[in-house]
Amino acid sequence: MSFLALTLLGALLTLDGVTVGQFMVSRPLVAGAVAGLVVGDPVTGLMVGAVLELFLLVSVPSGGGRFPEPGPATVVGVAAAVWTAGPGGVALGVAAGLVLGWLGAVTQSMQRHANGRWVPDPTREAVTPDQVAAGHGLAIALDFARGALVTAVGLTTVLAAGPWVTRGWPLSAADTRGALLLGAFVSLGIVGRTLLAGRRWVVLALGVAAGLLVGWVLP
């Protein structure tokens, strides 16, 4: 039952990514919380979503570029973390999220090529309102189907891989968290790099100091 619900959620979040609305509910932080609620573990859902959000902070759906697709990736990542027993579950969830993000990007690019074939070409023919509505509607329906397919493939894969990870994962929960956050720190550094200009490094240093202080003070 949750497999079907997650597949539907992945498809809906795929639409939010670019095609319908772009309300950003497909961002990992939000999608992780929603997927967590669907599988009955919002705490794990939020944790996987927060780690993936750190990784994907540099990824935005800009123009025609190829970027990791966060919605279905986060849904599969959360499912992997909840369905797989032990600390390896979160590791599998983050890894699956990163792979699915890439798979989503590749299939999105393929669909964009295909869309060009069924939307009317005004340089070649007279374009009727019906052609516009039909081409547009078909493209949205196919994006929904693509999202469902990507999510279903991801869920099936993590269901198969889960038992292996449970048996083989040797790290404690704390060390698993440390290993996964290393990559997230690289991503944070990259975001900082894209913004550094002039004397902004002073602002960055002040931010780091404030963050360290808050981390020490907080219980």
Partner: protein, 252 residues
């Protein structure tokens, strides 16, 4: 400036709702072109265009167009005004060509490069500070939607009221300068997030010093290496999970 012709509320609402689907059929040939035509269909029908005239109008709006999806509403508003004013097809085509680049660049800078990461950083800070996941998600969505929906709805109105003069009106809003200020706030938040993750108990705080040293090195490598390091980092993370599991299975 000429008198703004009244746009029936029902037509305006339908265009604004359809604007949420502007990228529904995004493709490498006409990009958002079909989405623009789809969004403007209620207006073209309201104008009473029929047969060949309607097909011509739909065709010119279905031609290549690409801008930031939220700021496309500004273009939709201005194009709706041109159609209401009975502007010539050449004028409409020239205006579409002239406005798409600036709207794309402005939106990329304001929304994708600044506002989205800024709102995500606020959500992440709240989450890792232990304020509560629900608050983190709510803060992100409320903050982000405030600008998103403003650009969509007020942008359409601005475009419709301004017509071809929408460029100067957008300049008056000084969005680029505001984005510059937002980027400074974002730099501070990114630094704050790195510091909080290093010391917070829910992140690196409770771990051994070697993890903290690794995290500092990772942050610095991202600062130095920039965006070309993102893909290798993601691959390394996935590879690490696979290899640790593989050797764990062999050892166990």
């Amino acid at each position: 400036m000429s008198v703004v012709p009244p746009l029936p509320p029902a037509v305006r609402r339908r265009i604004q709702l359809r604007a949420f689907l502007i990228q529904g059929s995004w493709n490498y040939r006409v990009m958002q072109g079909t989405g623009m035509a789809f969004a403007l269909l209620p207006l073209l029908r309201h104008l009473g265009l029929r047969d060949g005239d309607l097909e011509d109008a739909v065709g010119r709006h279905a031609e290549h167009f690409n801008a930031h999806p939220y700021l496309s509403s500004v273009a939709l508003g201005a194009l709706a005004r041109l159609e209401m004013d009975g502007a010539s097809p050449d004028t409409i085509r020239r205006f579409r060509s002239a406005i798409r680049g600036p709207l794309g660049a402005l939106g990329d800078r304001v929304v994708w490069a600044t506002w989205l990461p800024l709102c995500a950083a606020v959500g992440l800070l709240l989450y890792w500070a232990g304020v509560g996941g629900g608050w983190a998600v709510a803060a992100f969505l409320v903050l982000f939607s405030a600008l998103h929906l403003t650009l969509r709805f007020r942008g359409f109105r601005l475009g419709y009221e301004s017509g071809t003069a929408v460029g100067p009106r957008l300049k008056e809003l000084a969005l680029t300068r505001r984005a510059e200020r937002g980027a400074v706030v974002l730099v501070f938040l990114v630094g704050g997030l790195a510091g909080l993750l290093l010391t917070g108990d829910t992140a690196m705080g409770g771990l051994s010093r070697s993890w903290s040293a690794g995290a500092v090195a990772a942050f610095l490598s991202g600062l130095v290496g920039g965006v070309r390091l993102w893909r290798p980092t993601a691959l390394l993370t996935v590879g690490l999970v696979v290899l640790v599991t593989f050797f764990g299975l062999r050892a166990g």
